[in-house]
Structures are given as C-alpha cells and as structure tokens.
C-alpha cells in the first residue's frame, strides 16, 4: 500500500469510527428503551441508502477528468477539513463543549421514554430515530469515502476502511452494551481534521494547476506541518486564555 493509499485508509477509518461512535449512542438509546427490532431495521435501512449513494456517486465521480475532480473535491475536502479542525481546536482550548456520549445517551433515552407507547409491529419512533441517526452521521463518512476514494481511484479501499471502523465500533458497543465514553473523540476529530485539510490542500492546489515540489512526497511535509500548525494554535489560544483569566483576577472590581 502506497503512502497516499495508507493516508486514505487511516483518514476514512478514523472519520468513520468517530461518526460510528455517535450513531451507536443513538441506536443503543432507542434499542434499549424502545425496540431492538425497530432500531436495527432503521440501521439496516440507513446503511442500504448510504451504500447506494457510494455505489451510484463513486463511479460517477471517478469518471470526471482528474484536474476537475481534484479542484472540486480538493476544495470541498479542504473546506470540510478546516471545519473539523476549527471545532477540534476550539474544543481542545475549552471554547466549545466536548461531545459527551453519556450525556447524549441520557438525552436520547429521556426523549424515547417521553415519545409515548409503542403500537403493534415495528415501533415507528425507534425506527425513525435510528434511521435518521445513522443516515446523518453516515453522510459525512460517505462524503469522505467518495472524495478520498475518487481522487485516488480507490473507492474500494475507502469503503473497506469505513466498514472495518463500523465493525470495530459495533463490536465494542455490543461488548460493553453502553455508549463508548472512553473513546478520545476530540483527538480523533483533530486527527481527521489534519488529514482532510492536508489532502484537500494538496489536491486542491494541484487541481488548480500548481505543482508541488517533490510531487506526492509533498504530503509527507504537508501532513506534519498542518498538525504542528493546529497544535500551535491550541497552545497560543490556551496561553491567551490563561493570561486573560489571570489579568481578570488582578483587575480592580
């Protein structure tokens, strides 16, 4: 497996694992509280829709000319990556609340209990919530699978990496039968943001006509440079935050 292919597999695996953890919380809440049959049917329905999207859009994207594909997909990936990185940096400095799976689980359970009694047959509440949860969390993964996969003409590798991540998270969820609280979600989101931003920058610039020094090997510099820059932002914002707290503490009231 080449460097860019390994980057593709790692990025898709991490992104998919993060989204799968969030989807698992929703499915567990409605499954435990309402109906496992309806929740799992909802999951199955959403997975069919997501797989169909990949199957239809994957070949359509790979049929585009490479320069068009790279500038459009690179641009989208960069915009998407910067969003992930922005949220991860803000969470790391405490400017945005961390995602708490236990809290999300409790909220879903309370909403499921308040939703009223179940009728005969498939519980529509559990089906809809599980379907929507998996579909919405999965759309981001489909986007990453398609953009990464199409750019490298390896939608298959991306789809396999996504599948492995879903299986790993599902296995962990089944084993502990509770939301996965110990997964370092923000660290994973930080890593995914760095990868998406790096690959988006590389492909976007190349698609726009720029030539990277060293060709594909430039990624070996772009990925660590993006990571170091994002960590530097965290360090600067933390220092600024602690300085403003100490100046507030000595300011006359």
């Amino acid at each position: 497996m080449s460097g860019p292919e390994l980057g593709l597999a790692i990025s898709v695996f991490l992104a998919c694992a993060v989204e799968a953890v969030e989807a698992l919380t929703i499915v567990l809440a409605v499954g435990v509280t309402r109906s496992w049959r309806a929740a799992l049917t909802g999951v199955g329905g959403a997975l069919v829709v997501l797989a169909a999207l990949i199957a239809v859009l994957g070949p359509a994207l790979t049929a585009l000319p490479l320069s068009v594909l790279r500038v459009v997909v690179g641009g989208l990936l960069l915009a998407f990556g910067l969003q992930w990185l922005r949220k991860a940096v803000l969470r790391a400095v405490g400017a945005k609340a961390l995602h708490d799976e236990r809290d999300a689980y409790e909220r879903e359970v309370a909403a499921a209990r308040a939703a009223g009694t179940m009728g005969a047959g498939i519980d529509p509440y559990a089906f809809t919530i599980a379907f929507k949860g998996v579909l919405l969390e999965g759309l981001e993964v489909v986007f990453i699978v398609l953009t990464f996969g199409a750019n490298q003409h390896h939608v298959g590798i991306a789809a396999v990496a996504a599948g492995v991540a879903v299986l790993a998270v599902t296995a962990a969820g089944v084993a502990i039968h509770a939301p996965l609280q110990r997964v370092p979600e923000n660290t994973l989101k930080f890593a995914v943001g760095v990868m998406l931003t790096s690959f988006g920058t590389f492909w976007g610039a190349e698609g726009a006509g720029a030539h990277w020094p060293g060709g594909d090997a430039a990624l070996l510099a772009i990925v660590p440079a993006t990571l170091v820059f994002a960590l530097a932002l965290v360090a600067v914002l933390r220092r600024r935050g602690s300085r403003s707290i100490s100046s507030e503490a000595v300011a006359p009231t």
């Binding site: 500038v71 690179g74 641009g75 989208l76 960069l78 915009a79 998407f80 910067l82 969003q83 990185l85 922005r86 949220k87 940096v89 803000l90 400095v93 400017a95 945005k96 759309l139 981001e140 986007f143 931003t197 988006g200 920058t201 976007g204 610039a205 698609g207 726009a208 006509g209 720029a210 030539h211 990277w212 020094p213 430039a218 772009i222 440079a225 993006t226 820059f229 994002a230 932002l233 914002l237 600024r240 935050g241 403003s244």
Partner: protein, 72 residues
Amino acid sequence: MSGRVSRRLRALGAFCWDFVVGDDWRLAFGVIVGLVLTALVSGLGVAAWWLLPALAAAILAGSVWRGSRASR
C-alpha cells in the same frame, strides 16, 4: 401542499449549507478564493503551490481566534 414542499426544500438547503459551509462561512469562502488565486498565479507560470496552504492557515487562525473570543 406547496407550503410543505417549500418547507422541506428549505430544510434540505439548510442541511446542505450546514454540511458544506458549517459554523463559519469564511472558511469555505477562503478556500474558493485560494483555489482561484492558485489557478491565476499558476496560469502566469509562477510557482503557486504555497498559496493555498498559506491562505488555509490564515483563515483557520482567524476563525479559531474569532471562535475563542466569541465563547468568552
């Protein structure tokens, strides 16, 4: 009926905007500006590979700076 359709279309539009643009539209706008500048500069035959990463770094720094100030 048409009210329901337009509500759904608006919801879809809002979802797509949130999906691609997210919390800070300046990030997406900056990416478009970066791609256009890179295409223009590389069209002149000048090395332009540094433009997009430099702009991405600047817009990310600006965005997190604003985000951290807004949270205080």
